[in-house]
Subunit: 421 residues, 2 copies
């Protein structure tokens, strides 16, 4: 028995004819002697439509009910796929989260998988079945409440399944050819990467790329599972996401972006009066469950300036609280800017090549692009630019590092400029 | 705690605005101090659409997968309703079959409820929740397979729920005002019945009326549960389905019909050669799981003539087998007729009034309508007529018994003509 985990996303399952295509693809694996365990998302748009209906009743629909309802989307695609495979003469069976079960905590809308029972899967693989599993969902052990895993949840299901079956790799089918040096829709010269490390993939996702969800990548990284991202529409090889040490490290692997950043700037906070201002600000943001993409702080004399970036959609919830807090800590004023983009270069070999940030800044400077904030880690450099400069910035950086020839591995020349994270 | 079971069918839940209406209705019960347990069907057309998709892959989709898939329809409407109620400030929670659980046998597509665990329902009613239950489905105890209960399954769920909660009545909301003396779409003079007995309702359903499914009525009858059928679109009182002895028995309560009957006639079966011909014919039909609506048999000398009626849609499956069997038992020939309608009068007081059949036949004769077959029971008389005569027949019978004035209670005059079942 040569089990393999294949995951198909919503765009691969958007209608009856696409489900047929996916079915044929799975049958090919079966014919090659493999025992496929297929993880499916809901058919494209199904989840959005269910959310739309619930929003007609409430802007914040009850989370338990929403999860219970959303979980039906994967059930429909899983059953349809099993029906197709069976109609084609293959043994096939679908299981949902509670039938296996896939046990999660009870954090509705973004539950965490606690355990996956693969007994039924193994038993059916041994009986020559193709097994189809509903992605994106789980069940709480004692209450039998149904949960969903949040965005990218089906990827997480696929990885948890791979791990529980004791496999070392899984295949994630999507609507793109793999991971690229830049968004190929924006930069047509972008190159598909043959391999990328977990760390780079995580930074890419954090920087805006939507190929794989960070949670699934983290799970793969922790357990050294190779993820093969490939296009469900054809047979070309995709991108392998795998352990760093197996990969010829590149200085810059790719460039990614987000275009929905907002900045909050507190100006002239009288530090001596409110020594706890940092904890007060960030506790408030944490309580609102908002992710911070960058923090910049400046200190001169008795006054501190503090800026941080959040997603524009999150800012709306924060504005009122931030204004109140600004008065409490007696900042001279607080400024909101909403038209920022974040451009990020990623490369696991960057750490030992200090010239890389300089090269990036030069590329932007040559195009007269203003850099508003900078953020770095061992394997990335992010800059905040005006939205109007986004395309020019990504293109300039992609060209500067010659990424259309593939990942950038050399020569930074003699320009050595250190940067710290 | 004054629990009540309210069941809403698919037409009551056909879109967002209808779900709101239903929600408002339920809130009225709550405001009156009731503790509603609401059983819901899938939103109108959802089930049909799911079946349509599965049929694109297979004319006979895998039954287990089909049930798993169809069960999602009720989940969506149950969650949406709970979300609405919660948004309106009421405590509300939905449970599906496996969460309670509702345990069934594993006869996919027409499973039988074995037990209903109402612990969670009672607990939540005590905590002031409105509880919403997915109708039409169950779960098999050991395999965790999901089943559906077949046509009218949500009515059965509502009755099983009523019984398990120890209640003596339930309310079934539908898109008609109740049970009528005839199909009001065909006979505008038809009168709504205030009460009808279980037996009469069963015969009405068997005779073609689609208000309530026989299985649900049988469950009510067995446990003496009063069913109140009413219109979900307004507040008028509907029809009470209850124990016979509580009702002033009428000779003819209503007239109903089907228009999709087929007849199979074996002519001149040489009885002495094949003494087992009856068992052979009906075993074959039973094995094909086809219901027989009527059997007529004639015997003269060494030959027997045998006719029986089945639904036209079932005939297609039988034709080939019947032809083979006809040769085996050496019938002179076998004839198939497909354009029959069945018109049935029902009345629990009919038994002691032998003139009722005569009066029905007279009504048809006066309109020159040919009667092809007759079938009777203690509380019904059915006749088979040509499809072309259906409307005239129903109208003639409805008028003859003056049903536009309500159920017929008398006077059959001196014309006494016995009939036997």
């Amino acid at each position: 028995m040569d089990a393999c985990v294949l995951k198909f996303g919503g765009t691969s399952l958007q209608d009856i004819s696409r489900i047929k295509e996916i079915g044929k693809r799975i049958i090919k694996y079966k014919k090659l002697g493999k025992s496929p365990v297929v993880v499916v998302s809901a058919m494209n748009k199904t989840t959005d439509e269910l959310i739309r209906m619930s929003k007609e009743f409430s802007l914040h629909p009850d989370k338990r009910e929403l999860d219970l309802m959303l979980s039906t989307g994967e059930q429909v695609s899983a059953s349809l796929l099993a029906i197709y495979l069976k109609a084609k003469g293959y043994k096939a069976i679908s299981f949902n989260a509670f039938q296996l079960p896939i046990i999660t905590d009870s954090d509705f809308g973004r539950a965490k998988i606690l355990s996956v029972n693969v007994d039924k899967i193994k038993k059916h693989l041994e009986m020559d079945y193709i097994v189809v599993i509903t992605g994106y969902q789980g069940v709480v052990n004692d209450t039998r409440n149904i949960t969903t895993l949040g965005r990218g949840g089906s990827d997480t299901t696929a990885l948890a399944m791979t791990l529980s079956l004791g496999l070392k790799s899984c295949e994630i089918f999507t609507d793109v050819d793999g991971v690229f040096t830049a968004d190929p829709e924006m930069i047509p010269e972008a190159q598909k990467l043959n391999t990328i490390s977990y760390e780079e993939m995580l930074e890419l996702a954090g920087g805006g790329a939507r190929v794989m969800h960070p949670r699934a990548v983290l799970l793969a990284q922790k357990n050294d599972i190779v993820i093969h991202v490939k296009n469900s529409f054809h047979n070309n090889p995709g991108t392998l996401i795998k352990n760093k040490q197996d990969i010829n490290k590149s200085i810059v692997t790719g460039v990614t972006y987000t275009s929905n950043e907002a900045r909050v700037s507190f100006e002239k906070i009288p530090v001596s009066e409110h020594k706890d201002y940092l904890s007060r600000i960030f506790r408030m943001i944490a309580e609102e469950e908002v992710n911070i993409n960058l923090i910049a702080k400046n200190h001169s004399g008795d006054f501190a300036d503090l800026s941080f970036a959040v997603e524009k959609s999150d800012l709306i919830r924060l504005v009122h609280l931030i204004k109140l807090l600004s008065q409490e800590i007696r900042a001279r004023r607080v400024v909101f800017d909403t038209d920022f983009s974040r451009v990020t270069i990623i490369g696991s070999g960057m750490k030992n090549c200090p010239g890389v940030a300089f090269k990036m800044f030069s590329a932007l400077q040559e195009k007269q692009i203003q850099i508003h904030m900078i953020s770095t880690s061992d394997i990335k450099v992010s800059v905040f630019v005006d939205n109007k400069d986004l395309f020019t910035a990504v293109k300039a950086v992609h060209e500067k590092f010659e990424l259309s020839k593939g990942p950038y591995r050399g020569d930074l020349g003699s320009t050595k400029q250190a940067f710290t994270s």
